[in-house]
Subunit: 297 residues, 6 copies
Amino acid sequence: MVKQKYLDKAEVLIEALPYIQRFNRKIIVVKYGGSAMVDEELKKSVIQDVVLLKLVGFKPIIVHGGGKEISRWVNKVGKEPKFVNGLRVTDAETMELAEMVLGKVNKELVSLVESLGVKAVGLSGKDGGLLKVEKKFSDGQDIGFVGNVTEVNPKILSDLLEKDFLPIVCPIGMDSEYAAYNINADDAACAIAKAMHAEKLAFLTDIEGVYKDPKDPESLISKLFVKEAKELISNGNVGGGMIPKLQNCIDAIEEGVSRVHILDGRIKHCLLLEIFTDKGIGTAILRKEAIQHYDVQ
Amino acid sequence: MVKQKYLDKAEVLIEALPYIQRFNRKIIVVKYGGSAMVDEELKKSVIQDVVLLKLVGFKPIIVHGGGKEISRWVNKVGKEPKFVNGLRVTDAETMELAEMVLGKVNKELVSLVESLGVKAVGLSGKDGGLLKVEKKFSDGQDIGFVGNVTEVNPKILSDLLEKDFLPIVCPIGMDSEYAAYNINADDAACAIAKAMHAEKLAFLTDIEGVYKDPKDPESLISKLFVKEAKELISNGNVGGGMIPKLQNCIDAIEEGVSRVHILDGRIKHCLLLEIFTDKGIGTAILRKEAIQHYDVQ
Amino acid sequence: MVKQKYLDKAEVLIEALPYIQRFNRKIIVVKYGGSAMVDEELKKSVIQDVVLLKLVGFKPIIVHGGGKEISRWVNKVGKEPKFVNGLRVTDAETMELAEMVLGKVNKELVSLVESLGVKAVGLSGKDGGLLKVEKKFSDGQDIGFVGNVTEVNPKILSDLLEKDFLPIVCPIGMDSEYAAYNINADDAACAIAKAMHAEKLAFLTDIEGVYKDPKDPESLISKLFVKEAKELISNGNVGGGMIPKLQNCIDAIEEGVSRVHILDGRIKHCLLLEIFTDKGIGTAILRKEAIQHYDVQ
Amino acid sequence: MVKQKYLDKAEVLIEALPYIQRFNRKIIVVKYGGSAMVDEELKKSVIQDVVLLKLVGFKPIIVHGGGKEISRWVNKVGKEPKFVNGLRVTDAETMELAEMVLGKVNKELVSLVESLGVKAVGLSGKDGGLLKVEKKFSDGQDIGFVGNVTEVNPKILSDLLEKDFLPIVCPIGMDSEYAAYNINADDAACAIAKAMHAEKLAFLTDIEGVYKDPKDPESLISKLFVKEAKELISNGNVGGGMIPKLQNCIDAIEEGVSRVHILDGRIKHCLLLEIFTDKGIGTAILRKEAIQHYDVQ
Amino acid sequence: MVKQKYLDKAEVLIEALPYIQRFNRKIIVVKYGGSAMVDEELKKSVIQDVVLLKLVGFKPIIVHGGGKEISRWVNKVGKEPKFVNGLRVTDAETMELAEMVLGKVNKELVSLVESLGVKAVGLSGKDGGLLKVEKKFSDGQDIGFVGNVTEVNPKILSDLLEKDFLPIVCPIGMDSEYAAYNINADDAACAIAKAMHAEKLAFLTDIEGVYKDPKDPESLISKLFVKEAKELISNGNVGGGMIPKLQNCIDAIEEGVSRVHILDGRIKHCLLLEIFTDKGIGTAILRKEAIQHYDVQ
Amino acid sequence: MVKQKYLDKAEVLIEALPYIQRFNRKIIVVKYGGSAMVDEELKKSVIQDVVLLKLVGFKPIIVHGGGKEISRWVNKVGKEPKFVNGLRVTDAETMELAEMVLGKVNKELVSLVESLGVKAVGLSGKDGGLLKVEKKFSDGQDIGFVGNVTEVNPKILSDLLEKDFLPIVCPIGMDSEYAAYNINADDAACAIAKAMHAEKLAFLTDIEGVYKDPKDPESLISKLFVKEAKELISNGNVGGGMIPKLQNCIDAIEEGVSRVHILDGRIKHCLLLEIFTDKGIGTAILRKEAIQHYDVQ
């Protein structure tokens, strides 16, 4: 006799069918950061999710940060991390360290993916001239080697996808003089999603999603249309840290990404839950007209 | 809070990972017949299984029979089905009916697959000269248009797989004069699996598998090496109907198919259970040296 | 000494040169029906013609009917064929039979083509989702599973042509619920010719062509411009059966098919005669401006 | 009523079917020379034949000579043509003239082919390094710039065939110092047929074929096996001019060309007659075992 | 110790870097004529230059004339060369000779290129229907087979470039009756550069370039914008022979060629000097807005 | 007048012709290390050389070390570098630092190459599973995360070369548990050259080459055959540091690399000098029979 638990397993796989079809060969950019990068179990679950998406026919691209680890190393060499308006002040020495740390994190993710049987390639925005930047100022103040993305050259990404690799990108870019710059990982993910015409852009964060009222945990928003997102910002209903993230979401949608998700990276397998269950989790930002099209039922 | 049932679902998908990797882009020939073709719910579960295999990167080919339905139609036009040694005596009129009925069943399967979002193409062995036959005799007795496969021209199958279609084949062939012949569906599936260098050949049957002692239901064999299978036949330990099936399994393995499965088609999702769980179900026939290679753990 | 008859043969081949060049790699849809499907010698001559066209570089697609054979089988199972306004009333049982009969005819044509050395693939409109339909009513009356083509998905046809197969299509389609429907073969041929941007659409019929005056056999029209065809219909100068056929011709031309032919399928090799002789036979329907372009002389 | 003459035409085309299939996509090298290059009507008929072969799917390559025209120009500039053992004594000035004349003839053939709607490219053995030669001596005597083919670099030919051009080659080669040499056109055709693995090599000559007894016009040989051809030479049964030609035929067959033909170029459409009629004309040289395979009936 | 001369060599190669990058995979049409075709050393230096351009990634096409050599042969066969307004009066016999001479020159260039290790193919405008012409009149006077290019069919050129050959073209064309015509080599080069969307068109001439004042050797113009070139013509500041050349330059620029050069073919390696040194030589004609873009420094 | 210096430049380029042809589309692995990685001017000259090789049609791959920089960082975080038999004792913390430093150096080289207009991609041996290792012991002593290459998976390299990128590899590998290991850069370069069937492998070192007698600077060896190299080792005529390097050279040659070079990286443009001058520099190790083939003169 076949045990019930096996039959249940088969049913779960069958239920995934319409979701697999929906995103077949579509590009999904995953911004990987926050707690999900620190907790070893969460880290493994994120990588498993992405590897599964790859194997069932999606084309995922990971863009990751490394903030906490950079600070740890800045301390280690005897410096004090400094921030202005939430942006790291990045002198030449800090930039050197940042590039080293991000590179290390990048290759660690590569080996994690490879250990699950998928070939990955770790890139920085220097490789293939992927990310070009210009110096960013914070309220007119020079904060060193911090850059805004001005140009994405996605050939290396599409070449690697065509050759069946999973690209993993760390947010370093070059300016017109080929000097290295640190980029905010959310910005890098957003720029890459737009340049690659991604179907989906998912931010793994340390919050549950967007709230109508940040003080009311019951007010989590499941679906947010671009128009509403803009109102939230202009009404002052979202907190400081959320504003640039929401702005990235709006940008991505307006330049052709079909759906952007703000997910709670503290939940195991949050990516799979978002994609393979009809309820979804976190907050989805989308264009008005896109609703019908994206619901399977 | 995310409900436990969703987390469980995610775990099931993650558990499927190594199995999906194992067969990625591999060809799997499914001989579809027996109860699984009659019961509507089983029929749907088989087709769902095959569609899922297709979507997660396998290359399935369905080969189906239609015995019971042919008999029903022979009766309908006022004839009596006749058999010699288990082979249908196939006069010209019966052959015409057999081709009509198999064609109907074939296109029904096509629409079932298409309704699940995968493009299918229904073929008989005439299309692209797929199956060439010679007349088969039963102990020297002429039983009409019943053929043995003498040649497989698999170009149409590989072309359709390349173009991302799911081929569904009914067991009709042509002799050197281009006359139509009925072929035993197991034989057709076996011939196609060999010609396509399939990784796996799965027979959906109405039995649980192969038994050491046909009278002892506890003696079901999980893994059977070619050498053992040959002994079972020569020792007279398997019943009449099982002998040609086992012989087909042995042939397939000896000509390069890596694994052959005799599955119980009366169990829902038996294909998924066989592929995506580590215990497997039914009887697997394999070469001695293949064991290590095919076990994931 | 070389005999004159051989020299004459060579001359005939040489005369075919400009016609072969004219249609090189062009798609020709042949609606095959009427007497040419019943008479064995005519049947062979049609298939020979199509095979020759294939071999000298054309890309033919056959669309066939099977009306008389369906009626024969309806009788055989003890039912009475019923028609409303020339359309077969198609209940579920009749539909099942129709699909079986058309499938049988389809594969017979496949083996005929293959016996002449060309690889063919028999399709119904279900394969690859080729023909999507909606239920058709006859003056508001429900006549069962009779469909109007609403969508053509020609990928399977272009894939097979690319891989050098000759596609043979029977006029069965699926509605949005994936139920099977009977389609008028003329309509199916017309829809396919339009979707494939065919150069030529040829109807094999049981008449000599279109007459100025149906009662005057001397009034056969060789070339008919779309404008004139529309006048013939509005003037009531063509008989009932001819109106939908002419309407199909007009539709095809207006959606980009360059030339439509109504040929007398009772004449052996009528297809070759139309294509390889400068006089042509039957009636050609064409756009005004196309004349110059299509005449070789 | 369709006139009988049209029906006869259709029959001729249908009769060509098996022959077209037999050589589909096969390479045929035509050595073009003799009267067929001088008589304008014959010239046109040869080119029509080759163009027809191209259009119905063969891949012809023309190799031509130009002997008479070279002599005419040698005279024109006030020199006397000189021959040793049938080979033109080719001093530097004669070589320059020969290259000019062959080039002119070459491009004339190109325009003739193009006027029939097929794209041609005229080459000498210099282009793409097609023909490499070494100096040839006649019984030890220096006869100037006359070369033996030592190496064929067929890339330019296969590239042009792939791009659907008809290559026309004149027999000029280069030695290791890149100096121009005249090559016997039969030798060049033979070398190219071997390097291109041609299915067929046809020599257009000014004789009817090979005779058992050169004095008995009734003794024309239709089929000659390599073994017999060698005997004819060793028995001294063939005349002087025929020996090198037969030797070329034997060489070609032994290095993989399937059939070599010696045709009477004075008969209009001799190429078509050879290929499209079951009797054939002239003498076919073939390997013993090839008979069955090449006869259609 | 490494000698200074070797280090100097390395520096020269390094200095070529930005120039090689600038034209990588770009098409350069070289009109080859004048003294550079007569002097053996200059001839070799031109061919070396073109071969080097090919090897470092450019896609050169040579178009050559042969005026002096044609006249030499017209004399040789006892005729007197005749010119009207600088155009050769070309009767049928002269045309035949012209085609022969140009063909000979063409294949000589082919062997020169091949001797340097690059595969070349010599074409006339007949090959692949490359150059179509109409009869040209000189002030209404019939001057025989002299043609104006009316159509360029560049497929043969792009096919050969794709297959890595270096095409060498002589200026012969065909009219609508497929008769041969002589074309001015400058016109042919200009027509080909336009049809191939060449990056650069370089005329090798027997002058140093364009002068502001033809009488003042100090007034050589380095860069000439289209507007200025038109003024030079309308002001009557350039001599007779220069007007059609300048007009060709203007045409080429206005139809998309980025830069046209008038180079002094009497200087060894003038092509390399123009391309690989920042000063350049001769006169460059260019669109106003192109300046910035084409300067490396 | 064109200045002599320009003419000289042109001559240098022309002289490079045969060398460019010799290595066209051939793979060259450059082991980059030693002084050439420290001195800024040398660094720039190496990168210029490699970029030039890329642009003129070679397919270079850079493999680099980073020893001195790693030691600098080990000190920086307050540790003492430790070596056993010349191998760095690599505990977990040192390994983490080594990966960070090599990653930084790797991406610096990427931006240097990109600044010269060529697209580069920086890899470690983790990317695409490029370098698999097993733990290496030094005379049985555990020295931590130091690995021997056991397997090269070169797909990522050939994919990047196909897509026209220049790969730059740092010598980090993974063991079967996907842990990171340090690899000797010479070993990594040698393993990659063998797996890629490189034409050439060049080691940039801090010595002039191999000496017959290490104490006699006049005894520098220009060409060394494998047999002689083995004798040098067995005779004890080469010093300690040279033995593993020579052994790598011998291995590479014996597994199919055509030529290995030990170059003095302290000489500017040593790579160009070796490739583009007939004398060459440093020591070339080669198979006996390869001499003729590789010399241009």
